[in-house]
Amino acid sequence: MHASIILLLPFFSALVILLGHRQLKGASVLISVGSSVISFIACVALLAVADDKENTKLLLPFLDVGQFHANIDVLIDKQSRGMMFIVSFIGMLVHIFSLGYMKDDDARPRFFGSLSLFMFSMTGIVLAGNLIMMFIFWELVGLSSYLLIGHWYQKASAAEACKKAFLTNRIGDFGFMIGILLLFGLNHGDVSLESLRDAFVQGGPLFDTHTTHPGLITAAALCIFMGAVGKSAQFPLHVWLPDAMEGPTPVSALIHAATMVAAGVYMLVRVSFLIEASPLAAEIIAGIGCFTALMAALMATQQNDIKRVLAYSTLSQLGYMVMAVGAVAMAAQHGHAAHGPNPGHPAMFHLYTHAFFKAMLFLGSGAVIYACHHEQDVWKMGGLRKHMPVTFWTFLIGTLALMGLPYITSGFYSKEAILGAAYDSGCSILFHSAALTALLTSFYMMRLVIIAFFGKPRTESAHHATEVPVIMLLPLVILAVFSILSAWDGFATPLQALKPAHEPPHATVLFASIAAFLIGTFGAIYLYRGKDKDPISIKLFANKFYFDEMYAVIVRVFQDRLAWIVTALERVLVDGLVARLPTAIVARLGAATRMLQGGHLQGYTFLLGGGVIGVIYLVVFVLPRLGH
């Protein structure tokens, strides 16, 4: 009951807005916001009535062929309930914030309609009880992301960005689908999460395959992972996320920071039994996550657009979570953790804390951009601390949480859990890069705060900035509270956030975590205090390691050039061999065919008709006699 409300309400909201936005006008905004509020209440109710028995319930039929079913059925367990709370809570706050942020936008109904579509699709991913349903909604969040990034489609940059996001995700989904097909084949046509997990844990058919064909399990795991690489913007498919900042800022907060991009991590945790079954897959996943985290952190240190800094930070933190998925699986393979689905997964816990403070930071940057009349360059801001005190304080809290201010903020606990997982994985490169990433995170975030909020206003727009309206401040304050408190047991337990099993942390981990925080913070203060332009300039980082340029070349050569060649060959060879050559031969055969070439189509059509009748005559009246 709750699940169907949570899933279908935003769908109908989107549908009503699509069909009736001209008649509804302002009401469409209320429908969308209202549905998000009701969804949130239903999600809280879902937390309250929760029992601990995990089971899959059929919600709606979809495909049903003989033995095979792929339906819309929901798996409600601790993971999905906790994730649903994050999605609906931040979703609701972003809806409310958007009431202020999008006040002057003429296309508000379209914006809120797409937002409802997003809530629907994201809910589907979270509740999905089988991989096909997950894939369905996986693609649909891609659509809503496309629509929202392209909200200001008149701008060429936004139009290109939404296309890029969709296509990059499609490449990931290509792998995801292959992975689903492999599992579908291996598990005899059943891709429900429960059955797959049972098949692994209790020694079903998949378990046999696991021992006889480990390569196939690794292939399936890596193909499924490819879906997460696209959606969670991991290297090498990370390029779409920074460009996605072309969308309105509330969208960046909800979709491209807190929820949708984290769906990849959520999905990986959902199928963690699969990753644990394959040592190679676990190592690759940890490696890709670790590389993404470090690479994006380096890029973030040299960005000047406030949203881009946050975007690279999101990339980096997603890399962190993905690394944790791999590291936990590696640790499990070494016997460091219980086999099977670990309820307190560090990746999920970081996803949970990160969702609040990163959404907060994005909404805070939205408030700054709004106040500075759509100025996004941090070097054109400055001194905002005095003009926008509430925004400043909330932004600072979010920043400290992201940096992991020891013992106070939620980010400290979740980051420490991930560092611990990296430590337990037994791979020292993982641990060291993770610690270095944490240091860089403190550095670039402190840099951002100093440049934008401290010092003197560097431009007129920064000088005249004033605090944003209450409707926008309210979500900031709420999220700031969560940024600090969400890791506390009093919050985390009822929200079913599933803290990783509490062990006394290794001294090394604790030391690394605190040292990274301190070095990064004071390094940034030392370098950037009172500066009006960047004292360091590293082109490689500022230009994002030239990935966009490289990919542009790849697309040009391997797609456009290839398409050109294939088209030319197709014209010459296929048309030449299949059409021209026989025609030429026929044309030489005699005068009768010359009539055909004369271009009297009606004549030919009659000829064709006549021929058909002749053949039919032959078949009907002549052939039977031959038979006797």
Partner: protein, 486 residues
């Protein structure tokens, strides 16, 4: 008399009436509306049932036994529904055109109905030919190009489809003769089916006949490399003809393979050399034509080539031959028909209003024509295979249907083909989103102006888009018509 005879006769009689001078639009629309209602009635009657229904037979000849026999099962009903919907939309969207547009649309639609709803091989074939002739004539007489060029295009299509039809005829005759074995000759599909069950042909012979039928039916469906008629024909054809041929009539070849070739030659498609040949050809459709479509620089070119490309997926379902894959193929036939008709219809409107379909001359149409943009998006995202629109359901069933028989450690040729074909899904997104971006996004190009058509003019397209959404969210609606295993 069966309701099916009425459904077949109605468009043909309406065509005759219009030709004799009845008010063209009123008569055509009236007939197609009633036709859609009848088909829906038939679908509701058949709901959840299995086997052949609404059968009725009028004997014509004793020996060879030939009769005008009608009958419908789930596949026929789904394709009849497709025909009725596309015919209605295609005729509805005609504006200010001479009566021949209505006559030819009715003839193509009626011919397709006849091909899908008769159960005698002779009439299945004859009705298809009946529908082809107005297609050629309309391209030659009213095509969107200089007279010389449009005649050349019509020629090419005529030669290809004519040759394909002859090969097909030869294959069908061969098939019928093999089964008759010197005794009584019959064209009745049910009789042939029961004969195929009792005394199946040897596998080698099945393979040979199947291959001939594949070439014949295949050229009608633009199977690679017999496809090069399709793109210029669709780009040149008048809008209703492009909608009806690409949406409905082209499905005839696939219908024939599923309805005639597979049941009568159940092993033919799985003999190794036939299967490998089919897989190579369908990969040609998907990968080669995918790249060709990416290269296209005009909307009509993109749509025409994409329509060739997507046939590859349906052939993939036929190649797999499993119950899930074949049902997926039928759903994809329906889905592709609706979505490509929608896109060609909108494309025709754009050409009328803007005078150009070149991507580098277009841009920003979403600013002034939002509803038109949304309708186009339905078609574009459907053909990309977005879940929630019908094409996805068909595609995913075809993919899954290839993986039902899975031996761990060994991927079959079919399964490798699926993996390669999946890359085509990425390519579809590339060309469709490029098209969408250059037509609708950005700022309006100078000198180009287009506003939303009036609501009444949008209705035929809304009908198609709504069909995609409803059957896309609830593909079981279609599956419930196909309860019997294929």
């Amino acid at each position: 008399m069966s309701v099916l005879e009425l459904i077949i006769a109605l468009p043909l009689l309406a065509a005759l009436a219009v030709w004799l001078g009845a008010p063209a639009r009123a008569a055509s629309l009236g007939a197609t509306f009633i036709n859609l209602a009848l088909v829906l009635y038939m679908a509701v009657q058949y709901w959840g049932k299995t086997g052949l229904a609404f059968t009725y037979s009028r004997p014509i000849l004793e020996n060879p036994s030939l009769s005008f026999a009608v009958g419908a099962d789930g596949i026929s009903i789904i394709l009849a529904l497709l025909t009725a919907l596309v015919m209605l939309a295609a005729i509805w969207q005609i504006e200010d055109r001479p009566p021949i547009f209505y006559v030819s649309s009715l003839l193509i639609g009626g011919g397709a109905m006849g091909a899908f709803l008769t159960t005698d091989v002779f009439f299945i074939y004859a009705f298809h030919e009946l529908a082809l002739i107005p297609t050629f004539l309309m391209i030659a007489l009213h095509g969107r190009a200089e007279p010389a060029q449009r005649k050349a295009v019509a020629w090419k299509a005529t030669i290809y489809l004519g040759a394909g039809s002859l090969v097909l005829l030869a294959g069908l005759v061969w098939l019928v003769l093999e089964f008759s074995g010197g005794s009584k000759l019959t064209f009745d599909l049910e009789a042939l089916r029961s004969q195929a069950r009792l005394t199946p042909l040897p596998d080698a012979k099945q393979a040979q006949i199947f291959f001939v039928l594949l070439l014949g039916f295949g050229s009608l469906v633009s199977l690679f490399p017999f496809h090069s008629w399709a793109a210029p024909a669709y780009a040149t054809a008048p809008t209703p003809v492009a909608m009806l041929h690409s949406g409905v009539l082209k499905k005839f070849g696939l219908y024939g393979l599923i309805r005639i070739a597979l049941p009568l030659l159940p092993h033919g498609a799985h003999v190794e050399w036939v299967q490998n040949a089919l897989l190579v050809m369908l990969l040609g459709n998907i990968l080669v034509m995918g790249l060709v479509t990416i290269h296209a620089s005009r909307l009509d070119d993109t749509l025409a080539n994409s329509s060739v490309m997507h046939m590859g997926y349906i052939f993939l379902g036929i190649a797999a031959g499993t119950d899930i894959a074949l049902k997926g193929a039928v759903i994809l036939m329906f889905a592709h028909g609706i979505s490509i008709a929608l896109l060609f219809g909108l494309c025709g409107r754009m050409r009328n209003q803007l005078g150009t379909l070149e991507y580098n001359k277009l841009g920003g149409l979403a600013n002034h024509a939002p509803s038109f943009t949304v309708l186009f998006a339905f078609g574009a995202f459907a053909s990309i295979g977005l879940p929630g629109l019908t094409n996805f359901a068909g595609e995913v069933m075809i993919f899954l249907g290839n993986f039902t028989e899975f031996k761990a450690g060994v991927l079959t040729n079919l399964q490798w083909t699926v993996i390669l074909a999946l890359w085509g899904v990425v390519m579809s997104a590339v060309y469709m989103l490029r098209a969408y971006r250059s037509i609708f996004h950005g700022t309006p190009a100078t000198g180009l102006f287009m506003i939303d058509p009036a609501f009444s003019q949008r209705l035929p397209f809304i009908l198609l888009a709504a069909t995609l959404l409803v059957t896309g969210c609830c593909p079981w609606l279609l599956l419930n018509l196909m309860k019997s295993a294929l």
